[in-house]
Symmetry: C2
Subunit: 342 residues, 2 copies
């Protein structure tokens, strides 16, 4: 029996992304169980190898098991994949803090905890400092991964060993995994890009063209990097799969929730009406506030994030916000690049 | 009279991009003349303020002048914009090497000269070492610039002064200019991205999905950076407007010539047939060869460029090329990032 047949995996969260990740591990030969709250979804994955709610029509591995028993799923797994909304992580995992101490946690959720402004590694660090933590991120529509189309992602861990273990377990013909030691950068990139995705939508909604969209993505990455630098992240991470890679996907693929919200804001609709239409809040709406507060507190210049915040929370119009961006002082593209390259 | 009314500008090349750039200078109040070979195009710009061949229906500045007299256009201009195909630059400018010595040249052409493997700054450096050289690049569809939609670009010069002069002359409400001192990086990014655009098209042609497209763009930038590092370029340049910015545009906007060629290759069509269909050769076909030769000679690992070269020149199929990319050894995302940050 090789390593894959001996490593048990529990995926916490049976949404589209959790299901796609669980399917990779099952394809690889790891005994894998996916946990979800919804009995219908869990039964369907277990019995019919399909997630009818989030990945209709995609045939999952027949070896993938599903369960509604959170305690048992956590206890029996060597590796736990976190695939639930960021704001729920603390509540779901808190009761199992002791069990986590011997596990490897692979987090695939993006965002910053409200009020505490903690990244997911910091939430798990607070719950259980001895658990091995890995973050997985990159341009990856779940449905394409589940359909076994080629995808590349980054996994980052503070020590390179845990990341390499995950890399070796998950990499196959359709899923290519790169390793990194920049946990902070990968987490910030994944979270803050949702705000830039809203800004990209604004540009679409205002019908300002492709040049403006490309410029917003680029200058968005530049300001995410400024925040990253403040927290010790590696600049190149933002150029990688978890940074521009993910943003490119947002702007080329089917409408993301965040970009969709931006488009409607750009068209002049009110936030409340948009959220009613979309049936909920896009993650970037939370992150815009957290990021704006963090940037203000730490003196990081984030003009695009600031304008998105102004539109969402201060009643600015999209047109006013854009005028402010275009009227800023003329700049060097990377002012401190040569002085302080990292 | 301010600086703008005193600085005369000559734009060499009356294609869509030359016309859009000329229009900016005219909008800014600079006495501006655009040179072209085609009498019909020149007359139309001069008399009807329209370029009927490349920017149909866009109303140009009524102050923009046009001429078929190359010598006079060069002689009377303080600033010369180069907007002709890269492979023609040497032939067009050679007779005027002496006149160039007092000029500022703003190059907007992308590519590497065939056989010599010279970048455009090196071509002009060989023709006239004392001319001030500036390169302008970034995500910019000409038609959007001519329609005065928001656009951001980078201008790079070896000394920051010439770049700042151009920044101040060109920046306005719809055109935002960032400066850089990384001429080599901006030139390499602009040229090599055409090869990655072909690879992106291949992925589309093979119907491999958005994840794969985003991955190819990202890993494409990573290998362009490796080449850039070999020639002393600044890594962040490739993250900027001239790098990822331009690639994002290629993959989100209307079909670029290079991507279009890649799509048809991905669909299994023969190169000769595609070039007949497209009515000419896409710049990336030249660059794929130059870049592959340069990379081989200097020991730079460029797996995507190599596979594009193999398809274009060695009879590989798109499917074979992709399999090779997915089967490569597992890697760190940025192997030497922490060791040598710049």
């Amino acid at each position: 029996m090789d390593q894959k047949n001996r490593t048990t995996v529990g995926v916490i969260g049976a949404g589209s992304w959790g299901t796609a990740l669980a399917n990779i591990f099952a394809d690889q030969g790891c005994p894998t169980t996916i946990w979800g709250r919804d009995v219908g979804v869990v039964d369907s994955i277990q019995l019919r190898h399909e997630n009818p709610r989030y990945l209709t029509g995609v045939e999952l591995s027949s070896k993938l098991k599903a369960s509604t028993d959170l305690k048992k799923t956590i206890e029996q797994s060597d590796i736990l994949i976190c695939a639930i909304p960021t704001q729920q992580i603390r509540a779901v995992f808190s009761p199992f803090a002791r069990e986590l101490s011997t596990k490897t946690i692979v987090n695939s959720s993006k965002g910053i905890e409200m009020r505490t402004h903690l990244r997911v590694s910091e939430i798990f660090g607070a719950l259980c400092p001895t658990a091995r933590y890995v973050v997985l991120s990159g341009p990856s529509f779940a449905v394409e991964v589940a359909r076994r189309l080629p995808t590349a992602v980054t996994v980052a861990a503070f020590g390179s060993e845990a990341a390499r273990v995950i890399q070796n377990l998950m990499s196959n013909q359709y899923f290519r995994v790169y390793t990194s030691t920049d946990v902070v950068g990968v987490e910030l990139a994944g979270s803050l890009k949702n705000v830039i995705a809203i800004a990209t939508g604004l540009v679409n909604g205002l019908k300002l063209g492709y040049n403006a969209q490309a410029a917003i993505i680029n200058r968005g990455i530049a300001e995410i990097m400024r925040m990253g630098r403040r927290f010790g992240a590696e600049p190149l991470t933002f150029l990688g799969l978890a940074g521009t890679g993910d943003l490119i996907l947002t702007c080329t693929g089917p409408l993301s929730r965040n970009r969709n919200l931006g488009i409607r804001l750009g068209e002049g609709k009110a936030l409340d009406d948009i959220q009613r239409e979309l049936g909920g809040v896009a993650e970037g709406v939370f992150t815009a506030q957290s990021a704006f507060e963090l940037a203000s507190r730490h003196g990081v210049e984030m003009p695009i994030t600031e304008q998105v915040f102004n539109i969402l929370y201060k009643g600015s119009t999209a047109q006013q916000a854009l005028s402010k961006l275009m009227a800023r002082d003329l700049k060097e593209e990377w002012p401190s690049a040569r002085a302080t390259p990292s």
